[in-house]
């Protein structure tokens, strides 16, 4: 079993985020970290390999620094890494990203692809489904449990009232939610071992991806305008007492909420 885990490098979600003049996210304004939701995907992949044997590979697309996110996965225990990096990738949207990840997965080979449910910067939750569609593979989104039996993957997915059990034949793409597991911390041994692991650098030419189908040129979406939203007026903050309760009910009544 070969499992590819997709990890993205994102600005730390606890930091202030801002847009640059060209409407792209200012990635230098904050510390860059592995998308925390992708560490649940890494944990899921490691657990499957612990149960069934096999190898894991962490894949990222981004600037050269994306290797740091891959290294983090290697420290957690993933066997090897690959980063697709190329100047032509700058400005790629979800569609362009999915094209590149799918091309890399096709070239690396995989029985199972595990991804996070959402990147904390783009916050779209669409790339896993897009990758599956490009590859023509079945898609198991929003897994909160995953098991493999022979050539079949089974997940549980939360619904409005309970959960569904969803199955697909491998190869397949799975996205996992954070209720799935608790990602392990890299051990000292893991950190040392990661230094010896290899991270391959893949280029668009090497993957046979036409550079005009990615980056700003190949991305169907482009930001036309960005404005600060009107700020909400400062709220009323009062200490608990009967007058406060009465004022709150007035507030609700004025807005026809009671």
């Amino acid at each position: 079993m070969k499992i590819v885990v997709c990890v993205k490098q994102v600005p730390d979600s606890w930091s202030e985020r801002q847009l640059r003049a060209d409407h792209r996210l200012d990635r230098d304004a904050a510390e860059r970290v592995i998308n925390d939701l992708d560490t649940y995907a890494v944990e899921a992949a490691l657990q499957i390999v612990e149960q069934h044997g096999g190898e894991t590979l962490a894949l990222s697309m981004g600037p050269a620094s994306a290797e740091e996110a891959v290294r983090k996965a290697l420290q957690m225990g993933v066997d090897a890494g690959a980063v697709v990096t190329d100047d032509a990738l700058a400005g790629s949207d979800a569609v362009a990203t999915a094209r590149v990840l799918a091309a890399a997965i096709a070239s690396l080979g995989a029985d199972l692809v595990v991804m996070g449910v959402e990147s904390t910067d783009a916050k779209m939750s669409v790339v896993p489904a897009m990758v599956a569609e490009v590859l023509g593979w079945p898609m198991l989104t929003q897994a909160q449990a995953l098991s493999i039996d022979g050539a079949t993957a089974t997940i549980e997915r939360q619904t409005a009232t309970g959960h569904d059990v969803v199955q697909a034949d491998l190869p397949a793409v799975v996205s996992v939610v954070e209720k799935f597991n608790e990602p392990r911390y890299p051990s000292f041994k893991g950190i040392t071992a990661a230094k010896k692991k290899t991270v391959d650098v893949l280029t668009l030419a090497g993957l046979g991806v036409d550079p005009t189908t990615v980056g700003t040129a190949g991305s169907p979406t482009s930001v036309a305008a960005a404005q600060p939203a009107p700020t909400r007026g400062a709220g009323v903050i009062v200490d608990e007492d009967p007058a406060a309760i009465s004022a709150l009910v007035d507030f609700l009544a004025e807005r026809r909420l009671v």
């Binding site: 569904d164 059990v165 969803v166 608990e240």
Partner: protein, 313 residues
């Protein structure tokens, strides 16, 4: 007039509020085409027509992988109606549909949109509502619309039923093999509710959530929870509000004993009015409060319910 496709979002065999909102939005852009799928779809055609559907595409068959079937139908509808815009609900299934459809028909996706302009650009809040971004899409624009972004207004459409011949696909697909029903709630659906009352770690226990429910019932709202509360097992996970839970945008969001971590804010920041009760004056959620009470939720909530009931009497 250009055709705008709306994929109906349904729950318990009925169109959800966001579907009616999307039809209202589509009317402002062109001629709405409602695509309604799943068992009982035919019965919902009349409702879609009341909200302006000029054309209706129905697929009442039960599918073992509804999203895959929806993508097949939408791709056929885009071709048949020569549509440049497709609206879906911005929830988990809607986003999966959007992503797959954009790849299939050659287009782009905008998620969490709150509007679409006449020129086809989509409007979306980012950074938790601090900025508003307008996005242009080349090719078919597949736009996932957040519930409660526009008011739903009825206006009768022609509702002409159009039959599309979409053969079953031979793609490899996932299959839903079982559906497990949890406890049903008689309260409004969290994602679409006008009022949401959420509790956090400050409610102290599962018993503390009885107070959250009581206030929600007094305000005829839905109950939500922070991840700290769902992780503690005080309330089921599916009621979690936030980045990895449900995104809500109600008229009123009441947060009881919730500190306001960025992941929680991500799911409620665009609420129209925010009320915060927290005993720590420094709790970051007070920054978003239109009305905040620094106090103990276990005494503020009963007093609030009593005062609302006193005035109603």
């Amino acid at each position: 007039m250009t055709n705008v496709i709306v994929l109906a979002d349904r729950a318990d065999g009925a169109l959800t509020k966001v579907t009616l909102e999307m039809l209202t939005l589509a009317r402002g852009l062109g001629s709405p085409v409602a695509v309604i799928t799943g068992p009982g779809a035919d019965a919902d055609a009349a409702r879609a027509t009341e909200y302006g559907a000029a054309s209706v595409v129905l697929d009442p068959a039960a599918a073992t992988e509804p999203v895959g079937r929806d993508v097949d139908l939408l791709a056929a509808a885009v071709a048949h109606f020569n549509a440049a815009t497709v609206l879906v609900a911005s929830n988990a299934a809607g986003k999966e549909t959007a992503g797959r459809l954009a790849i299939r028909v050659g287009g782009g996706v905008v998620t969490d949109a709150v509007g679409v302009n006449a020129d086809g650009t989509a409007v979306q809040p980012i950074f938790g509502g601090a900025m508003t971004v307008t996005t242009r899409v080349a090719g078919v624009a597949v736009v996932a619309i957040r519930p409660s972004s526009v008011p739903a207004e009825p206006a009768a459409g022609a509702g002409t039923v159009v039959a599309l011949d979409v053969p079953a696909s031979d793609r490899r697909r996932a299959q839903i093999t079982a559906s497990v029903e949890g406890q049903r709630s008689s309260r409004p659906d969290l994602a679409a509710a006008d009022v949401v009352v959420s509790g956090g770690r400050g409610m102290g226990s599962a018993d503390g959530f009885a107070l959250v429910e009581q206030l929600a019932d007094t305000l005829k709202g839905a109950v939500g929870a922070s991840r700290a509360a769902t992780d503690a097992g005080w309330y089921p996970h599916r009621f979690q509000v936030g980045q990895t839970g449900t995104t809500v945008s109600p008229q009123l969001y009441v947060a009881l004993g919730i500190s306001g971590a960025i992941q929680h804010r991500a799911g409620m920041q665009t609420s129209k009015a925010v009320v915060v009760v927290n005993k720590d004056r420094e709790a970051p959620l007070f920054e978003l409060a239109d009305f905040g009470i620094v106090g103990d939720a276990s005494t503020v909530v009963p007093a609030l319910i009593a005062e609302i009931e006193r005035r109603r009497a």
